[in-house]
Structures are given as C-alpha cells and as structure tokens.
Symmetry: D2
Subunit: 337 residues, 4 copies
Amino acid sequence: MIIITRHDVTDEELDHIRERVEAFGLQTHLSRGKHRTVVGCIGDEEVLAGVPLLSIPGVEAVHTVMKPYKLANAQFAAEPTKVPMGSISVGDTAVAVVAGPCSVEGLDMLTQTAQRVKKAGAVGLRGGAFKPRSSPYSFSGLGEDGLKMLADVRAETGLPIVTEIMDPRQADLVAEYADVLQIGARNMQNFTLLTEVGRLQRPILLKRGMAATVEDLLLAAEYVMKQGNENVILCERGIRTFSDATRNTFDLAAIPVLKKETHLPVIADPSHAAGRRDLVAPLSYAAVAAGADGLLIEVHPVPEEAISDGDQSLTFDEFDALMEGLKPVAEAVGRSL
Amino acid sequence: MIIITRHDVTDEELDHIRERVEAFGLQTHLSRGKHRTVVGCIGDEEVLAGVPLLSIPGVEAVHTVMKPYKLANAQFAAEPTKVPMGSISVGDTAVAVVAGPCSVEGLDMLTQTAQRVKKAGAVGLRGGAFKPRSSPYSFSGLGEDGLKMLADVRAETGLPIVTEIMDPRQADLVAEYADVLQIGARNMQNFTLLTEVGRLQRPILLKRGMAATVEDLLLAAEYVMKQGNENVILCERGIRTFSDATRNTFDLAAIPVLKKETHLPVIADPSHAAGRRDLVAPLSYAAVAAGADGLLIEVHPVPEEAISDGDQSLTFDEFDALMEGLKPVAEAVGRSL
Amino acid sequence: MIIITRHDVTDEELDHIRERVEAFGLQTHLSRGKHRTVVGCIGDEEVLAGVPLLSIPGVEAVHTVMKPYKLANAQFAAEPTKVPMGSISVGDTAVAVVAGPCSVEGLDMLTQTAQRVKKAGAVGLRGGAFKPRSSPYSFSGLGEDGLKMLADVRAETGLPIVTEIMDPRQADLVAEYADVLQIGARNMQNFTLLTEVGRLQRPILLKRGMAATVEDLLLAAEYVMKQGNENVILCERGIRTFSDATRNTFDLAAIPVLKKETHLPVIADPSHAAGRRDLVAPLSYAAVAAGADGLLIEVHPVPEEAISDGDQSLTFDEFDALMEGLKPVAEAVGRSL
Amino acid sequence: MIIITRHDVTDEELDHIRERVEAFGLQTHLSRGKHRTVVGCIGDEEVLAGVPLLSIPGVEAVHTVMKPYKLANAQFAAEPTKVPMGSISVGDTAVAVVAGPCSVEGLDMLTQTAQRVKKAGAVGLRGGAFKPRSSPYSFSGLGEDGLKMLADVRAETGLPIVTEIMDPRQADLVAEYADVLQIGARNMQNFTLLTEVGRLQRPILLKRGMAATVEDLLLAAEYVMKQGNENVILCERGIRTFSDATRNTFDLAAIPVLKKETHLPVIADPSHAAGRRDLVAPLSYAAVAAGADGLLIEVHPVPEEAISDGDQSLTFDEFDALMEGLKPVAEAVGRSL
C-alpha cells in the first residue's frame, strides 16, 4: 500500500498517518519528493483492506500493490485449472461448446435440440428452468419440471447439463439435476447465492455482470472458491456501454486478460453479447481466436417461436455452419473442437 | 407494437409476419412507404412481450408503443404515492433525510450517531447489519446482533430504521426489526429477493443497479409491487461509466425522469454516488433542487476509523453543516426539511 | 512517480529500472515490501511523462503523484479566475445565464429571443453560426451572415455574444464578432483548434467532450492557456453512457469536482445534457445548487419550428419560469442571478 | 418516420401533428391502437431530419425508418469497396497489415522498423509526424521533417505510408507525402477536417471516436464521401467504458456490424484498443477471425525507449510472432496474409 500525501501536508499529519498504519502492524517508510511525500506501507497490506485511509487528514491518494483475490489469482496456482463437465474438462486443449435453448420449453424441443447440437460437436447442453427476466410479466421458466426434462435428455444423449440457479434455497434441488450450475450476470454479485453454491460439490459457471470489472468478476469467483468449491468457469457475455449496435458490448479483451490473471477457465457467450443471431458466428470465432476455453451458444428448433431470446438463437443449420467454421479457427490457435 | 420491414421484404414474408402477429389475437395494419413497409399491431401489445419478432424473415426493426411497467407507471395512479417510514411519509412535502453509518459497528457508535443526526433533522436511521461487499475478505456486518442494536436505538431515539436485506431466507428476520428494507444496487435484479420482499408488509427502498436503466429500475419495482407490496421508494445512487473523478457517476437527471415516469417517491444517495466526503453536500443540494423526495447520507463518529465506506462518511459537524445548507435549497423548490 | 515491480522481479531488472529513471535526472528510492518492491522516483516527474515505464522488464504498475495540468490547477492560483463576458464576469457571485437559440436562423427570431431572455435575466446571448452536425445532410449554420446578425443583436440589446468556432482558419473571423468563442464537445480534443484560439484575446467557453474525463477537460484547457489565453470557462454538458433516459448523462458531480481541481469558472449546459425540454429546469436548479457559475440554455420562439435542437429548446414562457424558479435556488447557495 | 402520440392526445393535437408533417410534402396515415395512436409518415423522410417532432404537442416518441447515411450504406453499393493503398487494396481477400512506430522519431529507427515489418509481411508503414496528445506538454511529432522521413523510407522499402492529419490547413502538405491519410479518434467528428480531406484524391483511414456509435462513424465517413472521396477505410480502435482492464474497450462486434452496414473496408487497431503489448496478438487474431480487412499495429525497435505509446508497441520479434500466428487464423476464415 502506498499513500500519497497532499502537497501541503504538515508534519503532524504525517506522524498521524504513520501511526494509523503502524497500528495495524505494518511498517512505514517515508519518501520525500519535490512536490509530495509518499508513505510506503510494508507488511501484509490485506489488513488495510477497507480501512478508509483517504479519510486521514493529509492523504491525497492511496495505491494498492497487491491484487485483492488470492484463490483465483494465477500467481497462486502451479497450472491452469480444468473444470470437469460430465466426462470432459473445460480448460483443456479442446474448446468446449455448450449449446441449447435459452429456456427449456418442453421435452420434445429439448431432445431434438440436444441430439442435433451433439451431432454438430457440442459437449454440453444448456437450457434454463429458472429464468431471470427483467419484467415480472415475462416467462420465468418451467421450474423443477424443466430440470427433469434436462435430466431426461442427458440420460438419452449423454450430454452434461448446464442450467441456471437463482435462489439459494434451491441449491440442492438444482445440484441434484445439473452437472454445472450457472450464476447469471444479474446475480454475479448476489453474495448470498455465491456463498451457497460454494458449498456444493458441483462446478459453477459464473457470468460476468453487466457493470462488473475484471476484478469484480474475480472477487465473485473468490466468494465461491472460499467456500471450498474451486471448480469455477468464468464467462464473458458483454457489458453495458453507450454502444447501441449490439445488445451488450462484447468485451473480447477480457478473455486474454482473464487468462493472464487467473488459472480458472474462461468461456464466452456470444449469443447474449450480441443479442443478434447474425453476429454469433463472427463473435464465436473471435472468442476462440483470442483464447477462450469454450462457448455458450443459444440454439432453438424454430427461433421465431422461442419463448425467450429467439432473436439471438441459432437455427440447427446455423449451428452446424458455426461449428464447421469454428473448427479451423480453433486449430489455427492450437486448439481442437 | 410497430414492425418495420426490410427494404427487400417479399409479399410472402409480409403475409407471414401478419399471420404471426394475428395469431396472438392482434390486428395488423399495413402502411407502405417509399422505402419501407410498416406493420402496425393493434390490440394488447403485452401478449407480444418476449416474442422474437426480429427473428421473423423480413423484419428489420420493432418498436414498442407501451411502457412495460404498469403498477409503477405514473399514468396508472391518480396521485403520487407516499410511503410510510415510521411516523412520517416519504414523498411528502418535507424532504426525508435518512442518515447513519454504513455498517452497524456497535451500540455506542450507533446511539451516538442516531442522536446527533436526529438533532440535525434526520427522520430515519440507516445502518447495515448485512453488508454486500465486493471481496469475501471484507467485513460483512454484525448480522442479527446488528439488527438488535438498530431496534434498541430506535427505541431510544424514535428514529425509524432503514437496513439492507440480502438473503430471501432472512426476509422475516429483517422485517421483524426494520421499518424499511433496503435492496442494494447489486441486488436490484435479484428477482428471487424482489419477489420475497414483495410478500412482506414493510416498505422497500430499492436502489438502482450500477448498470440499470430507468426502465430496468421500474421493472424491478414492478416485481415487488406485483406481489402486493406497493410501498416502494426508488433510490438513485450512481451508475458505472468511464468517468473516474467519482466512485460512480451520479445520474442526477434520473431523478426528474423518474418523477415523471412513476408515482413512487424518489430519493438519492450522494454518499455512494460520490464515494468522497467532500462532494456529499453539493450532490445533496443538487438532488433536492432537482426534485428528490429524500436523501440517504452516511455519517460516522470518526470516519477514518469506520470499518466500511469511511472515505464517503460525513463527520457529525459536516452533517450539521449539510442540513443547515440544505434547508434553504429545499425551501427554494417549495419543500421543507 | 512510483513504480511497482512484479513479484518475481530480479535484481538485474531492478538495477535496469533505476538506471532508466536516473538517466532522466531523477533519484530513485527502493522500498522492499513483503510481496513487492517499490521504486520511488524523486525529482521533477514531468520529465517522465510519456516514458513507457511499463515497458521496462520487471515493472508491473506505475502511479503518478502529480496532476498533469499546471496552468489550470487550483493549487497554482491564488484565487478563482473570473472570465470577462461583455460587462460582466463569469465566476462571480452572480450566476451567469447565457441563453438563445441553438442556431441563428434569422435576424427577427434572434432579436426577439435576445430581447426576451435579457428581460428574464440572461446576461449573454448564445447562437450558432457554424454548427457541428453528426450528419452532413443537416443544416450547418448561416456562417458569417449568422455572425453579423449576432453582432447586430448585440448592438441593439447590449448582450455579449457566445458562439461556436469549428475551424482554425476562422479564428480571426469569429473573434471579430464574438465576445466568447465556444469550443464544442466534439472538438474538445481538436488540439489544432485549441492552440489557435489560445492565441486570441477572446475568452473561450470549452465544452467537455462526450468521452472526456475531468482530467482530459483540464488538459484541453491547458492547451488554450499555454498559448497565453487564460480566460477559459469550462462547461459540463453530459457524457455518453448506457443510460438512455436522456440524450446524454449529465455528470453533475463534475461541477464540484472541477471547482476543487481548477481556478477556472465552471458552467453547465442542461439543454444538451438532457435533450428534453421538460428536464432543463430541474437540471438547471441542480447545477446551480452544486456550485455552477453559470448556465447555457437553449431558447427558441417556436421550438417545434427550430431548425436544430428544437426538442430541447425552451419557449419564452418556459425560460421566464426557469429564471423565476432559479432565483431562490441561487440565493439558497449564496449566489444571485 | 413513425410518430407515437401520448395516451391523452386530443383530436386537435392529432390534426396539428398531421399538418406539420404534411407541410413537408409527406403523407400521413393514422393507426389507432388500444392505448395509442400512431401517425405513419409516408414519403421522403429525409426532409424531416432535424425537424423537432418531439416538440409538437401530443407527440411521445418518434422512430425513424431509414438509416441516415447513404453513400456509406451497404444497400446502395453493388459490391464491397476496395480502397487502394500503394499497390495493394484494403478490402481484398488478403488481410492488410500496416505496422510501424507510433511516432516517427528519426530516419534510422523508421528505416529499421519498415524493413523488418515488411519482411514479416506488413504491406503498409504507419508512423505519426503530427501527433494528437492529451497533454500540451507531450511530444507532438516532428512535423514536415517526419513526413519527409516517411517518404524516404517508402522510396527505400516500397511500403505505402499511412500517417495522421490533424489540421485542415495541412491537407495538401500531408497528401503530398502520404498514401493514406489517417483521421484520429479525437478528430472523428472534426467536421472541418473531414470535409477538407474529402476534397483530396487520397484514401482516408477514419478511426472511430471513443464515444462514437457505429452510426456516428458511418456519418463521419459520409462527410468525407459527400465531398467526392469514396476511398474511406474504417477503423475500430476501442471505446470508452467503465472497464479498466484495458486502455479502451475493444468493441469487436463493431467489425461484423460494420461489414453488414457498409460497403467500406473495416480494419482494427488492437494496439490502441488494448494499450498493452501482451494483448495485441490475441486481439489481432480475434479481429481477423471476426472479419476485419486489416490491422494497424504499433512496432518499435526498443519499445521502452519509444517517445510515445511504448507500452503498447511490439518489439520486432513480437511482431514476427504475431504475423506467424495470424497466418493460420486468416486462412481459417478464408483470407490470406
């Protein structure tokens, strides 16, 4: 921790600043510049987290030296983490494509979709039984019935299931059916839910919030990991900006940034980022070219009849074409499909 | 609902578009322009909410005519709603100032703060017993002990209590102690929590999320109101933007926009918006000048020793000065303190 | 300047970092922490501006200690600057309201508007002769004819003229007619234009760019001041964010931030920030309550017939009402109109 | 153009709205819904551009049907435009990589860089002689001397030159030396400059502004094209958002969006988007995978000694590696290098 003092700091203020810091067991170290005096704080700076140093008279700015996340920090892991999903691993050489409808709408459409995406190369099935919707008047999912359909289709196709959890009271219920539990963007800082799923023995797919920095996302992962569940997959799905050509702004650079900052696998959700079917393929290629470990793709038998997110869902043929186009891109960067 | 077709739409596509819409019980109405044909949809457009009209071949753009929120819509209320908070009402002529520490740290500091802010004119006491924190390593509140302290201080000072709820499983617990339950910015789209507090008989203070539009905020209020709880206070507390001079960007214009869009009362939280003590007074004056019905202000006996948010907490003297300065501003716009 | 090294920095790298810094005439100072080593750079840190310190092997982060602007810095001025505008000063106790149409459309409408806003208390007349428009197909102003009309109306009403300059080749032309030259938001980092107007003897009204930080704005002012023209008025007019309830997001907090960072006067343009006539009054009250030294308001005899910005222009009656409402707000914060 | 009226619009207001629109030579067409009446405007909607329809009493919202750009609109071109750059074309099957230092610092470093990037496969040389800098105290380029060095190096290596123009008075000067004139992000809405370069016979590389929407960028291109210069290359280089992990937020999705909206070629500048050397390669791969027609890459013999942008400049070896890695990615999407 480095404290920069105001240009007119007094000696009394300097003494008081040092006392405050030293009271936490750290050493201080003065460096007097031409215009400013800088107080270096040596020792375990975590004890200063949350201490309102800016409130101490004479302090102008405070800079931290350490990253606030530990379990998720790449520096504290010998090698990249591979998160199991059914019989495969996310974070492996093969790019893991998880596909399926936004919502589980019925057994037939789900079975049909699962068979088709599996044939095209998907290694997981997505589908929402509990759906977070901006409006209370929108369809919010089939609930446990939807979970059962997902399990039935897994039994039939062998595809592991990725589905969202919204309520901490349903942690055990969802974990009973799902292979991977998804935390949606709107719940990325629902710390109650993060803590609850941290206690489960199921991998977590954690989506970046619409206003979350990379650090916020890693701290959210830290919440889960701190409870003992280290199987966290991070997902870039677009952030909120002024740019109105797409539903969200796909922050592609977050993918390689995350790959450097953390040992956890990183996937992308181009469907939600774009909000438009016609952009899903180029965004998918880009994500994999930039190092993504997997993709989350919305596919629907008849998108124009989808109950939710139809505008961004691919048809079966479009998904086939996407997978065909993706293969050489993956190989170009040393990955496979 | 208005559907704009692509410039090269075919007659078959047009027929299909009309069929799809009419299948929902609406009438369609064609308007052929020089470059585009427009399909007007007449009837109850809510049935089209979530229908992926953009997915229908030949459709270029879709514009909604109605606002998606109803219970919160100003047009559906004869007059502004006043939300009870202890013996006063938020939304009345008097500007309601709620003050107190970020976190409840102990009984003494809370009592001391409550007495002092009451003397200065505050009509409510804020204080967190359950604290949402970005990092799992930060102090997360005293829990039920904190709630009890709040109740004790209410007993002593008569100030109603505003405190945050984070977990749907604690709805009854928090409601037992609090006069107003606060939903924090990070939980604004925690629909599980919104639905749960909608079932309570306690007023809700709903903070705008960091990436929430005004419409998102009103839809979140709609979640609460749809359960039968119409006592919702909205709170502007800053949004996430590129601007780095303050912790968040205080979207002041949202206050008069909300006052037009909804009948619910609107307050401001300048402490979180600014993240800096020295800006709390000017932002408070501005909020009231723009029509805010109240303010949420962080005050601490010794900010530099606060466990959380010390940098933005006012000292007692600063709060006194704020209230003194606020009085003539409130009167200038026809309000009182 | 403070340099934080990577956790695995080698002694050779540390030596090289110090050599690089010392080559610029600064002294270095090592502070070894538990996890990181910090290199303090003592001396004139401006010589390091632009030096890519992050490129030196072993460097993880660099923090500057000094603000990059000098002439605009509040610390380098004994007192607030008052900028002359005709016979009055912007930055004085009286809040300076400058009003008028977006574009000069003709002599009659301009005269009529000037007379009316003057009667209501405006102390300056705004009006564009050269208009920056997003589309090349939009009306771009009457050019020099418009300037002449502005000068004629000044002669008749005594109101000083504020008008925009877009082209460095027209600096002398515009300066011949205008009392204050406005640099629009889109030209805030048009350094050619900033340098050119810095050579004039006319006050400059510098609008904040839509993506400009407070520091960017102050550096733009520095460009003008460095040429010898210290009469710069800064103007907050809204920034680009995801929030779609208003045309731009009015960054109200920038007003008190700027009042602390610089000695230059700060005004607000609620018309452009809101983009909606019905929000101009509340935003104006808020700006003055937060410390603005003046306002820039669009007024038009018949807004629905305005060639540009009609949606945000006030009618004469609305402007009268605004000024009447503004007076007590100004007085509440120790100002006058 | 579609006008949506307020729910309480009167018949008189409706008549007035129709009169106003019909006065511009358009026909109107009424569609009465359950809650709203919609006025369709049939005819050439461009005549309504800039007309403040929202100002007409009774109007609630206005939706345009047509895109505001024409010359740049993909619908108005039979095929994609290829822009000549020396002996190659941007927009062709081959991905055009333009590389070089941020600033021209001297003849030696420029020659050395040009030879090396050419050998690695670059088809153009970038280098700034006139540099827009946020601070007036930063190095702003060698001016005409820099242009001469660029011409000398072109003579020696055969690489066409891309260099920035900042001042409309220097249009002829820069055009004398450069093969392609670059308009920087900060000048994207410097309409004076856009108009001036539109009169030249030189291709223009137009960078997206930090707060510019895709539509803003296309309208800026329209300014250039309207003067007769249709050789415009668009460049995505990152936008300003809250995300702080990179210098700007690389809006990758803008690349495929632009490829659909316009016939002009689209390139990417990953160096400025990232602001960090270690992200240039993944962002380059992603851009090409998403359909970019070219890249603009900063390369410097010794980045840590670069006068500007050293932190994001590649070393020669890093550029070699980038080109080697890029080749299979380009081929994977049907392009070459």
